[in-house]
Assembly symmetry: C2
Homo-oligomer: 325 residues x 2
């Protein structure tokens, strides 16, 4: 029996668990509701049950599982295996998830944050495969990022590197809940694109989107893409502005981390080439000509599976480097 | 005899060579004019002669030298040991400096760019000693940067990571010779601070600095500091604006690389606390309050020796990791 690793991607709504082979292929997968409000002990019990269930489905022994990688929202400590707190897991505070899962499953456990596991998945088995330097920018609700440099996740002293959504791109600009002004995330994360478009419509901006808003529906970045593709001038302007900020973000990522591949991931990439072609255009337009060190910008290859595959990939990487036996 | 490494820092004007002990202390040092116009072969001959001369002064054998680290302006390839070209070494093109120096001295040779060796020096034996994650921002003429993450220099796929002076902080802002607009370097590098202050004075801005300008003297950032400290309102405004951009740069460095120590280096740090206190103030003022992951901002401990010490440090690190025997 070829050995497998477990990957678990814990979100505020769902937990996805999978058995993943050494080549990044998912052998078996299961999704359950998180029920985070029941507290971390109950959720860890569920996760251990999911590992057993997946093993049972494939009829494999504990000894054929090399380890367990878990990704959760942060802030957390990969080094200590502790979730400090999380906006999506209310009430969780300093949860020793590595210890808790080792006790429950007997498996060596690696913890990392959701942006890092998604980036590691794309690096290991997705759009960044075969490259050593990969950055993945996840456009989910906010703007998350994971940086792989020379095959390793860039963590930093406080394990908080790659918080690129909070780099300041407009001094004195829009207020961000983080306490800063002018954070990148305010200008091009899906949630904020919709938020500021809604404000302008409510202030009387003419747009086909006002019908949706008038019906009391929540506006999403998807609605803006649809309206822009249907020729709505306001939606086009909003979308182009967001892509301009993303293009400039790609310039800054290039100069900071100098990746070979820059992966765009998250729900916003459902726009496909309508996102990629515009971001690439603005990247080229704003970028230097001193030397040719531009990354290739690609859409995520793994989609929603990037997290669970990347979590398992961390277990594989730890095993291959001798960190776990 | 304790073993030593050679560090050589090649600038457009001078070459500094030193024998450096395993603890980062300089045992012997020598500075000569570069004479880059004579071409790379003649300059490499000089460097080999400097190594011999330094050995002779301390009466040590070739076998007691563990290796040679060289820093030069780039762009260059550390991996290949080749200087592609350099604004400060006119006419140099694809110079195989690692091979050339190995042939001349018999010493295993490591090449890196000037910003990286200076950062490595501060990390290894200077203001960042004992930390694993250190960023050094060199405010010389331009704005250079070296990033040490988990004890390693961050290089990136194209070996061009940490070009932080060319991150865009003002979309559509000042033109930069690199081809971009709004590069950080345009707003707070010493050369550009002086350049834009001069423009404003020539446009009639009232300032004590107009006397200097009237005499046809070149304006420097040092002149601006002196005038600001003497109470000149215009100079104060210019200085504060530069420190504001540097403070915001520190916020962005924090979120990108998450270092424990952020070192300010280069000629502009002669302003001492007049620089540090203002940059620290603006960093605090602009930075988030989501979590306490701010780096400690310090002035360079090694000053002009950071490069030559860091170059030797790279040879020591290569030896300790088994890259060189």
């Amino acid at each position: 029996m070829d050995k497998l690793a477990v990957g678990i991607d814990v979100g505020g709504t769902n937990i996805v668990a999978a058995l993943v082979a050494a080549d990044g292929q998912i052998a078996e997968q299961w999704t359950r509701a998180t029920g985070a409000a029941r507290g971390p002990e109950a959720v860890m019990d569920d996760m251990a049950e999911m590992v057993d269930e997946l093993r049972g489905r494939l009829k494999i022994a504990v000894d054929d599982i090399i380890g367990l990688g878990i990704g959760t929202p942060g802030p957390l400590s990969h080094r200590d295996g502790v979730i400090h707190r999380s906006a999506n897991l209310p009430g969780w505070k300093d949860v020793h998830i590595r210890r808790g899962m080792l006790e429950r499953t007997g498996l060596p456990t690696i913890l990392d944050n959701d942006a890092n596991i998604a980036a590691f998945g794309e690096y290991w088995a997705g759009a960044g495969k075969q490259a050593r330097d990969v950055v993945a920018m996840t456009l989910g609700t906010g703007l998350g990022m994971g940086v792989i440099t020379n095959g390793e996740i860039l963590r930093g002293h406080f394990e908080n590197a790659g918080e690129f959504g909070h780099t300041i791109v407009e001094m004195g600009g829009r207020e961000c809940p983080c306490g800063q002004r002018g954070c990148l995330e305010q200008y091009c994360s899906p949630g904020n694109i919709a938020k500021y478009a809604l404000e302008r419509i409510q202030q009387g901006e003419a747009s086909s989107l006002s019908d949706l808003v008038g019906k009391g529906e929540a506006l999403t970045s998807r609605d803006i893409v649809d309206a822009a593709q249907a020729g709505d001038a306001f939606a086009l302007e909003v979308w182009d502005e967001a892509c301009r900020y993303l293009g400039v973000a790609c310039v800054n990522i290039q100069h900071c981390f100098n990746p070979q591949i820059l992966v765009l991931a998250g729900g916003m990439t459902k726009a496909g080439d309508y996102l990629l072609s515009r971001v690439t255009h603005h990247h080229k337009h704003h970028c230097w000509n001193l030397m040719d060190d531009a990354p290739e910008i690609r859409i995520s290859a793994l989609g929603n599976d990037a997290g669970v595959i990347g979590a398992a990939g961390l277990a594989w990487a730890a095993r291959n480097s001798g960190v776990i036996a």
